[in-house]
Symmetry: C2
Subunit: 429 residues, 2 copies
């Protein structure tokens, strides 16, 4: 039986323990919501301050050149590329995840339609439990382009790759239950079926190893988007990113294809101010408007907290710790709260698990989470009845897992979660 002292010992011998020092986390809080909003890196406040006062305040408009602002979407994109198995120059930071899903999905459909393939492909295939904003955007793209959005259960995706599927749109790690798809296998299956794949890496980038280019094999993905404010620690509403396989951007370059959000930052020469759009080559065409510099500065600091793990084994080492923490969480809840009605939603199989643990509990899930938050254990609730605990190996300690479960046990044993104040729904739950 694991004890709190065991957890403390694990922290002491954890080779990644020092990475936590990069973050400003209140001492009295167990923060298990980094999959919703990553914790604040200590470097961020000073860096954003510098950008505001020195670059914007003193150098003003000149900073687009002198501070290199114009290149930041690519400079930070190159850093994120290292975290998701992509090469420099293939990934750009721009807009939000939803907008980037729109771009990637539109471009993928255009590529499929322009291919020599004779099959009439008009289906966007996705998973019923995919993160809603991806489905909302897909619904809209399907309507606009006369396609059908077909939703299936997660387990049935591979079997549903029929000859009418143009694009498979999936989130790699499910936001609700933390289940992780086998990206390489699904890429291969989709390609064998003549479809392209768009991945949403919102719960993957910075959380689990991702290999988008897969050694340039048939297991490579086609497009990917991801979120800056979860495991990349970029701050609330941070800009998102978009990656396209270089073979696709090369084909787009040759065929003069684009994506519908053809803003001036995706132009080959924005400062020529020509009335006709002429797309930039490569990934740049997926930029749209003027980059949000203050937010990019914060995202840069967030991404750096992950690159700091490079010398310690990088994403592979973070993954090992993440699995150890989620394994521990599952074991402790089952040992200490085994009779409290929690049903594990996250796969026990480590290969099928992201960096979170979710439990459903028919009654009271919302109130139990609120009671836990009142005790400074911060997880979150996801409708209809899921308690969700994100684990961020950069800063989550073994002892945090122990303390979270100990608090959960107290919340259940005391029955305090039945207090009426805990069932009052807040705007954002």
């Amino acid at each position: 039986m694991t004890t709190r002292e065991d957890c403390q010992r694990q922290d002491l011998s954890d080779p990644l323990a020092a990475l936590r020092d990069q973050f400003a986390i209140p001492a009295d809080v167990v923060y298990l919501d980094g999959n919703s909003l990553g914790a604040l890196p200590k470097a961020t406040a000073a860096r954003v301050q510098q950008v505001i006062e020195r670059e914007w305040g003193t150098q003003q408009i000149r900073s687009w050149n002198s501070a290199g602002w114009i290149e930041w979407p690519h400079r930070i994109g190159d850093k994120i590329a290292r975290l998701v198995g992509a090469d420099a120059g293939e990934l750009v930071v721009a807009d939000g995840t939803s907008v980037n899903v729109f771009k990637a999905l539109s471009a993928a459909l255009e590529l499929v339609r322009s291919s020599a393939d004779t099959a009439p492909r008009r289906v966007i295939l996705s998973e019923r439990g995919n993160f809603p904003t991806d489905l909302y955007i897909a619904e809209s793209v399907a309507r606009e382009r006369g396609c059908e959005l077909r939703l299936v259960d997660a387990a049935g995706v591979a079997a549903q790759l029929t000859a009418d599927v143009a694009v498979l749109l999936l989130t790699h790690v499910n936001y609700r239950d933390g289940r992780m798809h086998d990206m390489a296998a699904l890429n291969r299956a989709a390609h064998a079926a003549g479809a392209l794949v768009v991945w949403d890496l919102a719960h993957s980038a910075g959380a689990v190893p991702v290999d988008l280019t897969a050694g340039n094999s048939d297991a490579a993905a086609d497009f990917a988007v991801g979120c800056g404010y979860k495991f990349l620690n970029g701050g609330p509403g941070a800009p998102a990113f978009l990656w396209a396989h270089p073979k696709h951007t090369a084909r787009m370059d040759t065929r003069q294809m684009g994506q519908p959000l053809s803003g001036w930052f995706g132009h080959a020469a924005p400062f020529e101010f020509t009335p006709e759009f002429r797309p930039a080559g490569g990934i740049t065409r997926f930029q749209c408007g003027t980059p949000p510099i203050l937010s990019l500065a914060a995202l840069d600091c967030g991404v750096d907290t992950l690159l700091a793990a490079d010398a310690l084994g990088g994403m592979r080492a973070l993954r090992r710790k993440s699995l150890a923490l989620t394994d521990l969480f599952i074991a402790l809840v089952e040992a200490h709260c085994g009779d409290d009605g929690f049903v594990l939603q996250t796969p026990r199989d480590a290969n099928a698990r992201g960096s979170q643990v979710s439990f459903s509990r028919g009654e009271g899930a919302y109130a139990i989470m609120q009671a836990l938050i009142a005790r400074n254990v911060i997880g979150d609730f996801r409708a209809p009845d899921v308690l969700r605990f994100g684990v961020t190996p950069l800063y989550t300690r073994y002892v945090d897992i122990w303390d979270a479960v100990a608090m959960l046990r107290q919340v259940m044993a005391s029955g305090e979660w039945r207090d009426a104040r805990f069932s009052l729904r807040a705007t954002v739950t």
Copy 2:
């Protein structure tokens, strides 16, 4: 003949002079580029710091409720509404200007097509000299929707409102020459011709009085978008805004119409996580992804610098000063640099002028601007041959205008602009 002392006296008697104290502007700089990037408000650094350290760092995910983050796009939108003649609840801060042009144009076309009007309307009418990103987006929307983008000269817009025009897309104040359209007259003409109007207020919001709702008359606009980083002083790449006339959002509500970027923040109940999109009512459906909180905090401070003018006469008083400053600029250049080849591009008619002065000069325009910038007079160059000087009545002083023209005179008299280093093009010009 105006002297520098005259300008100093005008500053001393300027009732708006104290508004400049809101900004951190280097003492040795004459900043005439607020139409590209507004100057830094003094309040911004501390406010963003507070959001980072206290709201994000300490309250973490809870700040979506406790700090009201979730409402910021509306809260700040309501402030901007006051600057552009719109009512609270009609305007939202979201995404960038280009993305918002895409949303507004798409929604306007859908409204026209769903109307009882029997004329086949498939033309998006715009001005050849419109800001390129608006044209690029319109080109894309036209291609996607089987429409034609028809570009005409600025002066010919009203005459080109033929029966096949669905939407008129214009920028109120032209970015290059500073010419301002008569918004009410064009709205009336477009409505009489059965078309809707989408206005880009990038160089208007916070620069000139705008009356979008026009007392709810037929002179009201239909849609408007605008930029946060120019006269709203929101910082580099600040979020943009979008307004729709409430009669249109009401009709969209009734008919279940939308815009293609249907992200989760435009959903009626995003935290129910339902797989089907159900649009929020009113302007909220024009939100897409998670709001960028750090950038919104900075934009909030920027907008506040304009609201601070309320007690001093608001936009009308700012407009009076703006015109006095641009009149002075024109007069001084003509008096002191009359033989230097500058050709005024901005209308002399105050009613047709925004808050900038532009001169073309066939040869050397770029190098002359670089030489001026080297002397700390910051304007900018716009292809092919325009020197552009933005005037921001919140912080531009009469003496700044004098000093800028005095420097221009020296640059011309000395011939220093012919130095080779000034003709080297930077990335962003």
